[in-house]
């Protein structure tokens, strides 16, 4: 009596194909270390301690008069805004005729553990704004703040409103109590004083842990299965490895800055209540009276829209726009959607005011 095999031959075929892809992968794909994340040509025009001011070379004959400075986040590096020639936030803005600068916050070490919000806002950011104003012969610049860079930019603008013509807030971290993400839950229960006292800077490993609990099965398993399944698809693989490399490059966050960020934003929620102090001065969101363009992503699992949107309602600006996009935190700045929808809308808005 013969037993009938119920295994679909296609399953065997799929398993064999997948195994072959895994074996062939090293021959087909570059190692992440071999990939350079520098895409659009730029010059380092200023340096302060470990931070750098990058100036991207123009791609158009004519440029808008007001330069744009991007205050990148404290988590991971600035490369995500210029991750791939076809998905580059910076390149797109250059092609739209904007003069673009970006801050690389660098990699703090133990000696930087006492750097605080005051150093970032009234030190580095203020110095770089002054430099750009001087270089471009303008009295005001446009400022974009992304994620935690949005928190720094927001604090800066309330203290130096005279230097900023337009404010673009992209998924800014503003109202910690409304944030519904896993990150905010962990932050709310963290003994940050103890961490800073004992360890100093926030270690990158802690951030990796936080990343690992965000959609752990989709991001931890399925993502890599898809990668090996698509190993022949050069475009997919290149894009995947660039983002993976960016994800794995997390610098520490200076202890004093991290302490104030966790306490003032997530635990005590002082920023949205206009009770946060930076360098001894109160951050009053009503002082943001210039045109404001707020961008949030509906599927953002790092900074939920509920955390970012209160900025739109709290500022003193009359000319303000709020845009919501059907994507995630990274998708909003480095995807085909960002190229087709997010950036053209931003460019139009900014061009009218630059």
């Amino acid at each position: 009596m013969q037993s009938e095999s119920r295994v679909d031959p296609k399953i065997i075929e799929e398993i064999l194909k997948f195994s072959k892809n895994v074996i062939d992968a090293p021959n087909l794909v570059a190692a992440p270390d071999e990939i350079s994340l520098e895409v659009t040509p730029h010059d380092v025009v200023q340096e302060m301690d470990k931070t750098r001011l990058l100036h991207y070379r123009s791609l158009t004959d004519k440029q808008h008069k007001t330069p744009l400075l991007i205050s990148y986040a404290l988590i991971n590096r600035y490369h995500i805004l210029d991750i791939h020639p076809e998905k580059s936030w910076v390149k797109n803005l250059l092609q739209q005729g904007f003069d673009v600068y970006m801050i690389d916050w660098g990699t703090p070490t133990s000696i930087d553990k006492y750097l605080d919000f005051d150093d970032y806002v009234n030190g580095y950011l203020d110095s770089y704004v002054e430099y750009i104003k001087n270089e471009s012969s303008v009295e005001k610049i446009s400022l974009q703040g992304y994620c935690t860079g949005g928190t720094i930019a927001t604090a800066y603008i309330t203290l130096h409103p005279e230097s900023v013509k337009n404010y673009v807030a992209t998924a800014p971290v503003i109202d910690g109590w409304r944030d519904t993400t896993v990150i905010s839950n962990l932050a709310k229960h963290m003994d940050v004083d103890k961490m800073v006292e004992i360890i100093g800077n926030m270690p990158p490993e802690f951030m990796y842990y936080c990343f690992s609990v965000l959609k752990p099965f989709e991001q931890g398993i399925e993502k890599y299965i898809k990668f090996f399944k698509n190993i022949d698809n050069k475009k997919y693989v290149d894009s995947f490895l660039r983002v993976e490399k960016w994800l794995s490059d997390t610098p520490p966050i200076p202890g004093a800055l991290f302490r104030q960020w966790i306490k003032d934003i997530y635990q005590d929620n002082l920023l949205i209540q206009n009770k946060m102090y930076v360098g001894g001065r109160r951050i009053d969101l009503k002082k943001i009276d210039m045109p404001l363009f707020t961008q949030v992503a509906v599927g953002d699992h790092l900074v939920s829209p509920e955390c970012s949107m209160p900025l739109h309602y709290a500022v003193g600006s009359e000319d303000k726009t709020l845009r919501m996009y059907p994507t995630g935190h990274v998708g909003m700045i480095a995807s085909s959607l960002s190229q087709k929808k997010v950036l053209p809308e931003l460019g139009q808005w900014l061009a009218k005011r630059s």
Binding site: E130, I198, E222
Partner: protein, 192 residues
Amino acid sequence: MQPESPKDVTDYYKHLSLFWTDIIHLMSSKPQALTSIGPMRAFAANSKKITTELIDINEVLLEFNQYITEYYKQLSDTWSVAQKKVNLKAPDIPQDVEQIEAFKRIWIDIFDNDFTELFDSGKFGVNYGKLVSKELELTKHWNNITNVILQSVNLPSKEEIDEIYKEMHSLKKRIGKLELELKKKEMKSNAK
């Protein structure tokens, strides 16, 4: 001093260890002068500090174990519940590629939802916060032991290095602000 409870036992051994290291230190103060400048300098006092730290580490480890047990319990409970949900939604063993793909999608969606719900919950946040806090305390005791060793070979302790960092930060901040003010004044006068 008679030990009665586990806490008393710890205190008893702590006392015993301190008693003998103190007595030995007093008894050996003169011969110790012979080793007053080498790495064995203040050997008895250093041993006492290290012993105290090791005893404290044991106490922290006990609490750390409680929180890490709870941490893995929460993970395994969530896993069991999620797996039951998957079994209810997809009771049959997948037979072909399409079914496997559908099963995988169900599995990932349910597991991601349930684990995100756990990581978002207060009970997870509280326990995880305490777990990290105990890890930090362990690190602190380890730092303290290392400080004793560093000082025995005339190297600065973490606190002393931190003082220098703090002083440097304060000086850099003052210089940076002065430089920026000067630049702003220069720019204003150039504009005029």
